[in-house]
């Protein structure tokens, strides 16, 4: 075992996993974290804790991850290259590991111009692929990247993101291959709505045998409203929402739009389970944590097994 995490164990066993996501509060309110954690507990195998997502200042992903551990859930700590140089990342990883964090996600990070401090100076000392390589070096060679030995154990299950919907499309699979070469253990994709393009992407993945070199989890975000769908398509980088999905939400009417969104999500999960090369689902129910149980249950993915 590379990390001894529940997520790693389930994936190694060949289980179809489901991971959730939790956005930390814009402040110190621990109760917000605990409330969301309670809604996710038992319904997902691990929970991504975002790291100042969309460049908006929030409680740190390390601290929030530790709160999750105390609440009996397994976190996947996200870490972005935007805010930390290599010293800070390695130092925070030691701290994270010491606090019992076993999974992480290496990301470049949304540019600060999207967030609430666009005046900030960014870092980008290393990129997400170099971050993967760095964590792997720390774990497998027991050294920081300058070559100095690490005191004590360092174990981590290394994740990263992949966006099959960004451009240039034909290069996306090669970028995934680079993440594998750098040493990634698992991948979570951007939210999938354009199933046709995703299937094309997965075909390339399978043809290149990449699914045998790392575990791939398909990203899903349930749509709560027509407005949310339109907002995401227009404002979130690399998201394509086909018109037929928007038409279905519109057709459901205001009263039933949320349940139609959940229905679509469940259908997507069923469709994804049929695709070769996928090892699970990454369910990003943004500010909709209370619906996670309903979705996972309706998708036939309960109860979750724990190792």
């Amino acid at each position: 075992m590379k990390s001894g995490s529940n997520l790693e164990g389930l994936l190694e066993k060949g289980e179809f996993v489901i991971t959730g996501e939790l956005g930390p509060p814009k402040g110190t309110d621990v109760e917000v974290v605990k409330k969301k954690a309670a809604m996710l507990k038992g319904n997902v195998d691990a929970v991504n804790i975002t790291d100042n997502q969309t460049a908006i200042v929030r409680m740190s992903s390390i601290a929030t991850s530790k709160i999750l551990i105390d609440e009996g859930l397994e976190p996947t700590m996200q870490m972005v290259a935007r805010d930390r140089n290599r010293l800070a990342i390695m130092s925070d990883l030691f701290g994270a590991s010491a606090l019992g964090i076993k999974n992480m996600l290496c990301l470049s990070g949304d540019h600060q111009s999207f967030g609430n401090h666009p005046e900030a100076k960014n870092v980008f000392d290393i990129d997400s692929i170099q971050m993967i390589h760095m964590v792997k070096t720390m774990r497998d060679e027991h050294k920081v990247i300058c070559g100095d030995e690490i005191e004590g154990d360092f174990k981590m299950f290394i994740g990263a993101a992949s966006n099959p919907f960004a451009d240039p499309f034909q290069y996306r699979v090669h970028r995934l291959a680079k993440k594998i070469e750098a040493g990634v253990d698992f991948i979570q994709t951007q939210c999938i709505y354009d199933m046709k393009r995703f299937k094309e992407f997965m075909k390339q993945v399978v043809d290149m045998g990449l699914h045998e070199k790392c575990k791939i989890l398909a990203g899903i975000t349930p749509l709560k409203s027509v407005g949310m769908a339109r907002y995401m398509a227009a404002n979130v980088s690399g998201i394509i929402i086909p018109e037929e999905i928007i038409d279905r939400l519109k057709g459901a009417g205001k009263e039933k739009v949320a349940s139609e969104g959940i229905k679509i999500t469940c259908e997507q999960i069923q469709e994804l389970r049929e695709i070769e090369g996928l090892s699970g689902i990454h369910l990003m129910a943004i500010e909709w944590e209370h619906k996670v149980q309903e979705i996972v249950e309706a998708a036939g993915l309960l109860p979750r097994s724990v190792l």
Binding site: H111, S113, I126, H133, D167, P168, K178, S237, G238
Partner: protein
């Protein structure tokens, strides 16, 4: 070429309001080409200041001067010119930041009678090229360790908003960067160029951590060429 942009007039006016004799000093190299700080711009700025202070009933003497390069001693050594610098209460330099600092340092080294005050009239923006009429774009950050050989002649350090060495990120859409639809995705350009050259294999290996020491991260930079030293 160094690109610069004139500061807002009100900011310039505010910065010189306490002085009676102002010398607007243009620079005839980079900033003249990007039409921010050349001879013509020095004349215009001097006229604008005269007019603005005149309208307020303030008696101010504003002159304009031009040198070939404010970043080089030899173009500022003319005795008559230095005499005028000495007479001014303030030199409003419309060179780049290098020119402002270098002329200030030079004047204070050569003129011993009084300290010389030099202030900037431009914001130095970037090292770039003239892409079209009235359009300039950044092309080099001066990182000190050029990677262009591996990236099809397109700089990811400068032209990718995240300086990714293993791009493109997930925000690349239709060839544009996620931060601004007017900005090309550098990695999209790199992939297209390498594909056309039949060299896409070049970016398949993982590009290792960059050594930022030759960049500004290593501290203010200094270059010594022993073969040129006297």
């Amino acid at each position: 070429m160094i690109i610069a942009d004139r500061k807002p007039f009100e900011e310039i006016k505010e910065s010189v309001k306490d002085y009676n004799k102002i010398m607007v000093l243009g620079c005839e190299t980079c900033v003249a080409i990007c039409q921010a700080g050349g001879e013509k711009e020095a004349e215009i700025l001097a006229s604008e200041l005269k007019l603005a202070f005149g309208n307020e009933g303030k008696k101010v003497e504003v002159n304009d001067e031009i040198v070939i390069r404010q970043c080089d001693d030899e173009f500022m050594s003319d005795t008559a010119f230095l005499e005028k610098v000495k007479e001014a209460d303030v030199v409003l330099s419309i060179a780049c930041g290098v020119g402002v600092q270098h002329s200030c340092n030079y004047f204070n080294r050569i003129i011993t009678e009084k300290p010389i005050r030099v202030i900037p009239g431009l914001n130095t923006t970037f090292m770039g090229a003239n892409i079209d009429v009235g359009l300039w774009e950044e092309r080099c950050l001066g990182c000190g360790d050029c990677v262009l050989e591996r990236t099809g002649g397109i700089c990811p350090i400068t032209r990718c908003a995240k300086s990714l060495l293993n791009g493109p990120c997930g925000g690349s859409s239709n060839g544009k960067c996620e931060i601004n639809k007017d900005t090309d995705c550098a990695w999209h350009l790199i992939i297209e160029r390498l594909e056309a050259l039949g060299e896409l294999e070049r970016i398949k290996p993982v590009e290792k951590y960059k050594d930022w020491r030759p960049s500004h991260s290593g501290g203010p930079r200094r270059m010594v060429r022993e073969d040129l030293r006297l």
